[in-house]
Symmetry: C2
Subunit: 429 residues, 2 copies
Amino acid sequence: MDALGKGHPPDVVVLPANTEEVAAIARVCNAQRVPLVVRGAGTGFTGGAVPTYGGVLLSMERLNRIIEVDELNLLAVVEPNVINADLQRAVEKVGLLYPPDPASLHQSTIGGNVAECAGGPRAFKYGTTKRYILALEAVLPTGEIINTGSKAVKNVVGYDLTQLLVGSEGTLAIITTITVRLVPKPPANATMLATFGSIQSAVDAVSELIRRRVVPAAVELIDSDSLAAVHDNLSADLVPRGTAAALIVEVDGTPRGVDEDLDRVMDACRSAGAKDMSRAATEAERETIWSVRRQISVALKATGLVKINHDVVVPRGRVPELFDAIGEMKRTYGLRVASFGHAGDGNIHVNLLLTPGDAGEQARAKEAERFLFTRVIALEGSISGEHGIGFAKAPYLLLELSGEEIALMKRVKAAFDPNGILNPGKIFP
Amino acid sequence: MDALGKGHPPDVVVLPANTEEVAAIARVCNAQRVPLVVRGAGTGFTGGAVPTYGGVLLSMERLNRIIEVDELNLLAVVEPNVINADLQRAVEKVGLLYPPDPASLHQSTIGGNVAECAGGPRAFKYGTTKRYILALEAVLPTGEIINTGSKAVKNVVGYDLTQLLVGSEGTLAIITTITVRLVPKPPANATMLATFGSIQSAVDAVSELIRRRVVPAAVELIDSDSLAAVHDNLSADLVPRGTAAALIVEVDGTPRGVDEDLDRVMDACRSAGAKDMSRAATEAERETIWSVRRQISVALKATGLVKINHDVVVPRGRVPELFDAIGEMKRTYGLRVASFGHAGDGNIHVNLLLTPGDAGEQARAKEAERFLFTRVIALEGSISGEHGIGFAKAPYLLLELSGEEIALMKRVKAAFDPNGILNPGKIFP
C-alpha cells in the first residue's frame, strides 16, 4: 500500500545493502521472469511503489546514507532512501538549498522523489526534482550497473538518460545513487497571505504579479472548501470564515530585494481586489501563514471522508477555467470537492471527498474523474503534474497520449527491460 | 559543412513547408533506407547537421515562424528555424526573457539549439536550453507525428521524451514545433570586469562569490592567451597587456538587489586578490565589458591560425586542475592554446591554434585531444558541455561511457529509428 491505500502484497521482501546486491537480485528476477518492484517510503499517490502482480519487493531501506555534501561544487551525493527533509537540513547547515519540497518531505525519500519527479511549493521559482538531478547510478533490470550524467552541471554526451529515468516511476531501472545539484540558500525571504472574494481574483493576482516581473519562490492557492475544512477541524485565525480563496506568496533573495519584491506582490494583490493581506514580520508569523496551507491534508482527513487526490495541471492562465470545470463536476456528480495547490504552476490538487462505504458516491467519483481529466486535456493541461501515473491513472493514459506515443514509450521500456520484470502494471493501460 | 569545417555533401536537399511534408519525406527515406539529415543554420562545432553518408538533407529553412508569444502563461511556440536572437527580441518586447544565449545566437536556430542543448553565459543562473523546453512536436524517422510534454510547466505523464529529444543531435526524431518556457525579464542588471594575476585567483573569486551566496546571471573567465589575441587583433583597453586572467560577472534582479549582489561580487573578487575592477555605470560601459568576451572568437580567427574548439566541462571547483592539464598539454605537445568560457559552470572552451598546412602540428593536436579528454574524465567532468558529440567527438565516446551504457543508448535509438536512417554516423563510435 501507499498513500493511495490500494495494492497487492509481494511474495518476498529483500533489503539489499549495496549496488552489487541490487544487481544480483535483478539478475535472478530477470532470469526467472519474476516481477521486481522498488519501494522507498511508500508515500506516493498513484501506486508506483506497490506490487500489482506479487513478486519481489526491493526495499531501499538500507541504502540511506548522505555520501557527500560538496559546498564548492554545489552538489550532494546520496543513496536513494535518504529522507528529503534530512537532505534539506544537511545542506542548509552549510548555507545551501535543495529546492524540491514535496508536502511529504518529512517521510518521502530522494529516490522516490526522483522516480516520481516530485514537485512542491518552491517549484514555481525553482522547478521540480528533475532540475536538480545531475547524475545517477542505476541497475538495469538485466543486472548491468550504469552511470548517467556527471558531476559537471552541463553534459551533452549521448542521450540524456538521467532525465529519462527521473519520473519513470521505477519502470526502467533501479536507482542506487543520486547526485543532486544544490543552490546557494538565499539570504532572505518574505511571506504574505491574501484573501479574495473569488478564485478568479486570486488568479488575477498571480497574473498581475507576473506582469510586475516578480518571480516568487512559491505561489499557493487555497479554495473555500479547503479553508472550511481547516476551520472546522483545526484553526485558521488568519482567514475569516467564508473566505472564497486565499493566496500565500513567498519571495526570496537579498534582504532589500525581497522587500521590493513583496511590495510588488502586495500591489498586485491589491489591484486584483484582495480583501485582506497579512505580511509575516517574524519567522513565527511566517510559520503561521504556512500552517494554513500545511494543515489542509490533515484537516481533510479529519472530516472522516475518503479523500481521492487528483493532481492535475493546466497552463497557469487557465486556472479559472479549471475551477469552472471543478464547479461543474461538483454539481453534475453531486460530490464534495476541496481544491488547493501550486497556482503559480497551474498545478491544482483536486480532492474528491467521499462518504466511506457509499457505493453510489464511489461510482459517481469514477465518472467525475474521467470528466475532470477530459476537461484538463481540453485546457491544454496534463492529468498529472507531480504524482505520476502508477496504476491509479493508467486507465486514463490514452486521454493524453496517442497510441503512437504510447507504443514509442513501450519500445523505450523494452530497451531497458526486455522481459518486462520491473514494476509491471504501471504507467501503461 | 558547419563551424567545424568538415563534411560530405548530400545527394538531395529538400525544403518542406510543414510537418506533414516532413512526415512524407521521412516515410520515403525510411522505406528506401536512405540517410536523412536535418539542418538548421549549420553553426554547430561537431558536425551534427552535416551528412556523413550523403542521402537527403532536410533543411528547416521554411519552418521559421514564431507562432505565438503567450505573456500570461510565460511561453512561446516556435517553428525550428526561428533564429535565437529573433525569439529573444520578440519576447523582450513584452518584458519576458528566453535565457539560453549561445555565442551563435544571431545565426543559430532554436531547432538547432534544442537538438544540441545549447548553453551560453546565462546558463550559470538560468541553465541550458533543456530547462526551457516544455513541449515538442516531432516526426519519427518512420513518419509518425508525436507530441511530447504540454503547455503546463509540470507534466509527469509517461516517460519524459521531451528531455530525451533535447540534445539528441537529430538522431531520434525531426523536431517540427517547439514550445519554450519564458521567464519575466529581471528589471535590472549590473556588470563588472575584474583582472587577476593567475587563473587560480580568478577561480578563487568564483568560489568566494558562491560562498557569499550570490547567484550571478553569468560568470565568464578569459585566460591570458585569449586576452593576448584580443589585444593583438582588436582592442581591449579595459584589460592591461599581460593580464593572466579576467573575469566578467553579471547579476540581475531588482534594482536594489543587483546593487547588493554586485557589492558582494566585488568583495569576493577583492578577497581573491583581484588586481583591477571596472563596474559598468551605463549600458555602453556594459557593452564594452562584454565586447572583451565577444571578440575572442573573431580575434582568434584573425590570428590566421586554424582554431579547434574543445568544449570540455568539469565540476566548477576543479577548473584550476583543468588549467593545470591545459598547461601540461601545451608543453607536452608544443601547441598554442587559448581558453575561455563559462567558469561558473566549469565549462571551458579550449582552443588549439594550429598553423595551416602543418601536418606535424595536426598530428600532435590529435594526441593532445585525447590527452585533454582523458584528463577531463579523470576530473569527474565531461567531454562536451554544450557542443555535442556529432562525428567530431564520436571516437572518444568510450572515454566517458561504458560499453553497456552505449549499448543501452543504441537500443533507445532503435526504439525511435529501427532502420537507422536518421543522421547516421553521429554520436556513436
